[in-house]
């Protein structure tokens, strides 16, 4: 089917995110033969730089430069996209905090299907697009089919598609800033408050003992502390532990926490949702202990143990103390 495909280029500080090339791959996989158009919204020199960078990969770039677009506010971007997109357009967004903010409402306003957090592509038959999503923190996958005859808004999970190689010839940047004039929203950006630094810098540690929901109760954290002390390691955690206020935010690993690059990562009672694994880089040696043999963490680990932390931790601590 004749579809026009658009990719919103996420960027910060004058540089496109890695997602820009992953989204190009996703667009090419789903709509072969269609030349996707990159949309670069921003302000000033940053916007100009990102538009040029995007043109190295995308044959056509539409640029929108306005002071009000300096920070990406979904409540401003949505009406702009409504104004400039042709009927039946397919829009690809990163499944980021911006994509999550922008996508659902955009699909409603466009009258288009919404396909969020896509991790794979499984074919297109006429106007029926089939993609892969995950549910229950990645424990199961699902094929999801959407009728995109009236267009689609698709958010793509980071890392799900390999970054595309930039094309041989530079693309053209079409300046459409005038169309973005006079944008207003009932939600006004104020500022970004950076995450507080904690008492330890887990991003610099080589050996991390990470604890998750499976630890059960706050009192049980002492078992984790004792093990970490025996190992000479630092304790970090997954999101539920921070939500429960058992450990500081500075100890959280994941997309909404810190990105760590340890040599060894011992994951205790962590299911391994992609938001957590997104913060684990540098190919560490991962050992996972979980009571659920289906936990996705076992796919990311080199060594796994299905078992009870309450039994294993004291035994392991004791044996390490003896071995020294």
């Amino acid at each position: 089917m004749a579809t026009q495909v658009f990719v919103l280029i996420p960027h910060a500080a004058g540089k496109a995110d890695d997602a820009a090339l992953e989204l190009l791959s996703a667009a090419r996989a789903m709509f072969p033969g269609v030349t996707p158009t990159a949309l670069v919204l921003g302000a000033g020199a940053d916007q100009t730089a990102v538009a040029q960078e995007a043109a190295a990969a995308y044959p056509e770039v539409w640029g929108f430069s306005q002071e009000v677009l300096a920070y990406p506010n979904a409540e401003l971007i949505r009406p702009l996209l409504l104004k400039i997109l042709p009927a039946g357009a397919v829009v690809l967004l990163p499944h980021s905090t911006l994509g999550i903010d922008l996508g659902p409402g955009l699909s409603v306003k466009l009258g288009a299907a919404y396909l969020p957090d896509v991790v794979g592509f499984d074919g297109i038959d006429g106007s029926l697009l089939k993609v892969v999503r995950q549910e229950f923190s990645g424990q199961v996958s699902a094929h999801v089919q959407a009728d995109i005859v009236k267009g689609a808004v698709i958010t793509v999970r980071s890392g799900a598609f390999q970054p595309a190689q930039p094309g041989p010839a530079a693309g053209t940047v079409v300046d459409k800033s005038a169309e973005a004039a006079g944008l207003t929203a009932r939600r006004r950006f104020v500022e970004v408050v950076q995450a507080e630094a904690g008492d330890v810098d887990i991003t610099r540690e080589d050996v991390l003992v990470a604890v998750g929901r499976g630890i059960g109760e706050q009192d049980n954290l002492s078992l984790v502390d004792e093990l970490a002390e025996a190992m000479g390691a630092t304790v970090c955690c997954s999101r539920p532990i921070v939500d429960a206020k058992w450990l500081d935010k500075g100890r959280q690993v994941g997309t909404s926490g810190a990105t760590v690059k340890p040599k060894v990562y011992l994951a205790l009672g962590i299911s391994g949702a992609f938001q957590h694994l997104g913060g684990l880089k540098g190919s560490p040696f991962v050992v996972a202990v979980n009571k659920n043999p289906k936990a996705p963490i076992f796919q990311a680990a080199q060594v796994g143990v299905v078992g009870d932390l309450m039994e294993l931790l004291p035994e392991l601590t004791q044996q390490i103390q003896k071995a020294r």
């Binding site: 996958s141 699902a142 939600r187 408050v193 206020k245 997309t255 040696f285 996972a288």
Partner: protein
């Protein structure tokens, strides 16, 4: 402030091992423990805290079959005065837009200043709040981890990448999706549940809501799940077996070899 909180009853993935049923038509639902979606508890708690500060009332709404009553009562026991159940066989199989269409009709039964949802559901797509806002033509913010009321405007925080917080001002009425960690949801004891056991909860069907059943449900869904499956994955972890002592001994050797003992 009149606040509507949308909640969902879901299989609790922290308590359940989720398996695909034969043929992939569904997950295995026998023996599943159901609970209120974790994010929704934070949304209800936030609504209650706002009303404690600013006055007003909290209404909890859920969509589903008769079993949602347990979920609605549990959330009411936290301190929400009113409940609302949206039940109609014609709602079954709705996609995100269908659910948002039904919730929109419920939200228009009364003038709500603020509508909250959880940021996402265990089995969901983080979509209904944003769709509901668009249908109501309200401003929207997702992943909200702070709400301060300043008259007809809220100063809100959104959790963005790296754990930073994006602050904005948003006009009322609006829709917010609430992120976990924004507060500490209060404990609900048996006494709390008993207190709301006899409160009447209105049950509205499609006709009561004025929802055209042709616009929702399975037939109207633009997006539908074809099947569940277990992805073909890498070999995964080498699993250690044996007694606790034996497993621990193997782990000590591995940690030593890989530099895990500093």
């Amino acid at each position: 402030m009149e606040i509507l909180v949308c909640v969902k009853r879901v299989p609790d993935s922290a308590e359940n091992e989720i398996n695909v049923a034969a043929g992939g038509a569904d997950i295995c639902r026998e023996d599943l423990v159901y609970a209120v979606n974790e994010w929704d508890n934070y949304a209800v708690e936030e609504a209650i805290q706002i009303v404690e500060r600013e006055g007003g009332s909290v209404t909890v709404v859920a969509l589903g079959d008769a079993e949602i009553e347990e979920s609605v009562r549990r959330e009411m026991a936290m301190g929400a005065e009113q409940g609302l159940m949206l039940v109609d066989a014609g709602f079954a199989g709705s996609d995100g837009l269908g659910v948002a269409t039904i919730l929109k009709a419920a939200a228009q039964k009364k003038r709500y200043d603020l509508i909250l949802t959880g940021a996402q559901a265990e089995d969901g797509a983080a979509q209904v709040g944003g769709m509901l806002a668009a249908l109501l033509d309200h401003p929207y913010a997702s992943l909200v981890n702070k709400v301060d009321v300043n008259g007809q405007t809220l100063r809100i925080g959104r959790e963005i990448e790296g754990g930073s917080q994006e602050l904005s001002d948003i006009d009322l009425p609006c829709v917010l999706s609430i992120q976990t960690g924004i507060n500490e949801p209060r404990y609900v004891g048996l006494r709390g549940i008993r207190k709301v056991a006899s409160v009447e909860i209105p049950v509205l069907n499609g006709a009561d809501l004025g929802v055209d059943l042709a616009s929702v449900g399975k037939a109207a869904a633009k997006v539908r799940r074809v099947d569940y499956f277990v992805p073909v994955v890498s070999a995964g972890a080498e699993m250690l077996t044996g007694s606790t002592k034996e497993v621990a001994a193997q782990l000590v050797e591995l940690l030593k070899a890989k530099g895990g003992l500093n």
